[in-house]
């Protein structure tokens, strides 16, 4: 019985729990799941957890952690209890992300051409011109269909009253979608029949939509364009995801050294000679993508690629230069972009953000540092953050000195408590903090978001950091049909 598992399910104070209203009552949309789940014995659940681990390991769904030169393959921890989202919540999220993405895409087009938004002083020009990801090489480059963001991962969190906030936009090479797909496959094995009974919407369409969008980007009018997935290679921690997506879409998985540029066209080297490449879905960062134009020491990119791109002979997904739109200092202005470009009120809220390059805000943040989270504007993966409430005095002081060296590189946000969801931990249900990263695909036919996403979990008790590099795990994410 469910009661057996939820004894002492302690709600974090002032926290929105996805499943429980209070210590006795659960939210309606979990009722189907609970009905089935409560029939399971503890022994069975433990077995299921074991099975999940085994499935991940044997399928090689691993990421590699490098420690003193030796690679250790680890699985991304998976919690067997799905996170459930109602259809009305999803409608809201979907609408909000579409709106946000539309504005961000218009912003990229604008900032790399007319710069109206800068001339009208909606976004301060120095925020853009001091952003290392604002690539002057992209200025006036024609991007097919004016689509810059083909794939986005928007990180959402919920405050104590359940309100959704956008924590960050990932518009460069967002990762994690393979876990969204694999988590669902695993759940199908763990809880047979449960998914149809609960009316869970399918996520399997993702590779097909992405493939269709990539096909539509081919600059050559040929019936069978060559699409490749450009991976940094097998030592990259997300290599598993690259092979999975390539396999699911039936496209060639290539590395930089497989490609060559000849007279402003890109080719891949095959056993029967050079074959022209039309679309590159790249998982290599901008700085590494073309050693002729960017980092000259890069061996992951293709020399001359930018020339072919500028000439319109190859499509690159996501576009080069997107980093200027997901920079954490630029993030602050996304609601203004929505108003400016779309003349609409933002549907999804931003977390209040302080720009440390502004002396007043810097002063305020330093005075209230214990209630703040400070992040690097170009950081990701949870690295280099300061959690004000948890840091020691010394850590805080050292971090302050780091900030003062170049305040432009930092922003601060009030600590948000993040919603919690029950996880199966040591034979009991225990609340852990979660976020949600839905994946949006933007093509000539518009924006589509498969109903679901990656729910990341801070598995450490009390932790607010969900990144896998910081001990986070994930859950299957269910969006209900009604």
């Amino acid at each position: 019985m469910i009661e057996n598992f939820i004894q002492n399910y302690l709600n974090h104070p002032k926290t929105y729990d996805e499943m429980f209203l209070d210590s006795e009552n659960y939210r309606n949309h979990y009722s189907n799941f609970i009905k089935n789940f409560s029939k399971e014995s503890l022994e069975n659940l433990n077995k299921k957890e074991e099975l999940a681990k085994k499935l991940f390991m044997s399928q090689g769904i691993t990421f590699t952690v490098y420690d003193s030169g030796e690679g250790i393959e680890k699985i991304f921890p998976f919690d067997i209890i799905p996170r459930i989202i109602t259809s009305s919540e999803w409608l809201f999220i979907e609408k909000g992300i579409k709106q946000r993405l539309k504005a961000l895409n218009l912003f990229l087009k604008d900032v790399y051409s007319n710069q109206f938004i800068l001339k009208d002083k909606i976004v301060p020009i120095n925020v853009i011109y001091s952003c290392p990801h604002f690539l002057r090489e992209m200025y006036n480059v024609n991007v097919l269909h004016d689509i810059y963001i083909h794939i986005a991962g928007i990180d959402l969190i919920r405050d104590h009253d359940g309100t959704f906030y956008v924590l960050e936009d990932n518009l460069r090479t967002p990762s994690g979608v393979s876990y969204m797909l694999e988590n669902r496959e695993i759940t199908k094995r763990l809880f047979p029949d449960l998914i149809p009974q609960c009316g869970v919407r399918s996520v399997t369409e993702y590779p097909a939509i992405l493939y269709k969008n990539l096909m539509a980007l081919s600059p050559r009018a040929v019936s069978n364009p060559t699409i490749v997935l450009l991976s940094p290679g097998m030592y990259n921690s997300a290599y598993y995801e690259h092979t999975t997506l390539a396999r699911l879409m039936g496209v060639e998985l290539v590395e930089g050294r497989d490609l060559v540029v000849k007279n402003q066209k890109v080719y891949m080297k095959t056993t029967i000679g050079l074959q022209q490449v039309d679309v590159i879905y790249r998982r290599v960062d901008d700085d590494y993508i073309d050693p002729l134009v960017f980092n000259p020491n890069s061996v992951l990119g293709v020399a001359g690629l930018m020339g072919a791109y500028r000439k319109g002979n190859v499509a690159i997904v996501n576009a080069v230069g997107n980093g200027v739109a997901d920079d954490k200092a630029v993030y602050t202005y996304v609601p203004d972009m929505i108003k400016y470009y779309l003349n609409e009120e933002p549907i999804l809220k931003n977390v209040p953000t302080y720009q440390l390059s502004n002396p007043d805000e810097l002063k305020f943040v330093f005075e209230n540092i214990n209630t703040m989270v400070i992040k690097k504007t170009n950081g990701s993966g949870g690295y280099g953050m300061l959690m004000g409430h948890a840091a020691s005095e010394q850590e805080t002081e050292e971090y302050k000195l780091e900030i003062l060296k170049d305040p432009r590189n930092f922003i601060a946000q009030p600590t948000i408590s993040l919603s919690s969801a029950p996880c199966f931990i040591n034979g009991k249900l225990a609340p852990r903090r979660i976020d949600l990263r839905p994946f949006a695909l933007n093509g000539p036919d518009g924006i589509s978001i498969v109903p679901g996403g990656l729910t990341r979990v801070a598995l450490k008790e009390g932790s607010l950091v969900v990144n896998s590099s910081q001990g986070g795990g994930s859950k299957d994410t269910w969006v209900l049909t009604s």
């Binding site: 490098y66 710069q115 800068l118 301060p124 020009i125 120095n126 011109y129 001091s130 002057r136 090489e137 200025y139 006036n140 090479t173 990762s175 940094p232 290679g233 097998m234 030592y235 990259n236 921690s237 997300a238 290599y239 050294r257 060559v260 540029v261 000849k262 007279n263 402003q264 998982r283 290599v284 960062d285 590494y288 050693p291 002729l292 134009v293 000259p296 020491n297 890069s298 061996v299 992951l300 020399a303 001359g304 020339g307 500028r310 000439k311 990701s380 993966g381 060296k405 170049d406």
Partner: protein, 330 residues
């Protein structure tokens, strides 16, 4: 109105054949009121297709690839340029007024790019030096002239102590360098004082006395002055860069203006020879070797793809680099 005939040869020689090279040249003289291109021939070994585009800073940039194995890449640019002097600034506006005007440009494109100085260790100290040189009543013009003289007087012109990627900190420590380093220090000083400043690459076409910077491409700085526009300052020769300086490109720094750069696969070592000669007579553009000045050859190691650690072979280095970079990508 001087007419200069410039021959600029860049010659890469590789120990063993290389292939799949991608290259970029910024060798097209700027065309404006003070500079006219009468004729320009650009010859590249293997006769690749050259694709030309205009970059963010307004420079003409050529790119080409060379995929077949080759042991040499020779880029031969012959230009005939007619220059005319730009009148010097009147500088008759009150200093204060001028400084205020510059301040108002702070957040305007393109000046914002030419005012922002990348952070470096000694930035505060250099700013202090710059501000101590400037008198309160100095106009931006006077200040710029003083800075140019300061760089000329305080840095020694020595070839070979710096490379294309030498940082400002290193130059300040060495107190020496070549034109590129002089230009980098001057642009930094101007920017830190609030005067927009660009890096310029080009050729120096000396009078018969000879000047520093011959034999190779030259570099200097430009300062933006209210009501005047861009003023060329050559800190290597302590003079105004005017009709004797032929401009190829402008940008924030050397990296934006690099005259010739390329990346290739294979090979191990290469040498690059650069030879620039300037003549004044019609026959100077002919292929007979009567150049105005005895030629001088610069040997330097470009930074691209060649590393100097020879403990491992280049394949091992390459594989290690691959592995490291793959791990770094998020």
């Amino acid at each position: 109105m001087p007419i200069f005939k410039i021959k600029h040869i860049t010659n890469y020689k590789y120990e063993t054949p290389v292939r799949d090279s991608a290259n970029q040249v910024i060798l097209f003289p700027i065309k404006d009121d003070y500079q006219k291109v009468v004729k320009h021939d650009l010859n590249i070994s293997g006769s690749p297709e050259i694709e030309i585009f205009i970059d963010y800073y307004g420079n003409e940039v050529g790119t080409f690839t060379q995929n077949e194995p080759h042991t040499q890449l020779k880029i031969f640019s012959k230009v005939c340029v007619e220059t005319s002097p730009k009148p010097l600034p009147q500088d008759d506006m009150f200093g204060n007024e001028q400084w205020n005007r510059l301040d108002a440009l702070k957040y305007e494109v393109p000046y914002i790019d030419y005012l922002r100085q990348e952070v470096f260790e000694g930035i505060a100290q250099l700013k202090e030096t710059a501000l101590s040189i400037k008198q309160d009543e100095d106009t931006p013009y006077q200040t710029a002239i003083k800075y140019s003289a300061h760089v000329f007087n305080n840095f020694e012109y020595i070839k070979g102590v710096t490379a294309v990627d030498t940082t400002i900190d290193e130059i300040l420590k060495l107190e020496a360098g070549v034109c590129q380093d002089f230009a980098h220090v001057l642009t930094a000083m101007l920017r830190l004082t609030g005067i927009p400043s660009r890096y310029v690459s080009g050729y120096i076409c000396p009078n018969r006395d000879g000047m520093r910077g011959e034999g190779a491409t030259h570099a200097w700085a430009e300062a933006y002055l209210p009501e005047y526009g861009w003023l060329g300052l050559d800190p290597t020769n302590n003079c105004i860069a005017n009709e004797n300086h032929v401009r190829l490109a402008v940008g924030r720094n050397f990296a934006d203006c690099s005259p010739v750069k390329g990346v290739y696969k294979g090979g191990f070592e290469h040498i690059m020879e650069v030879n620039v000669s300037v003549g004044y007579n019609d026959e100077d553009l002919n292929d007979n070797e009567t150049y105005f000045k005895p030629t001088e050859v610069n040997y330097s190691k470009p930074s691209a793809t060649v590393t100097n650690v020879r403990k491992q072979n280049s394949y091992q280095q390459y594989m290690e680099a691959i592995q490291q970079q793959q791990q770094q990508q998020q």
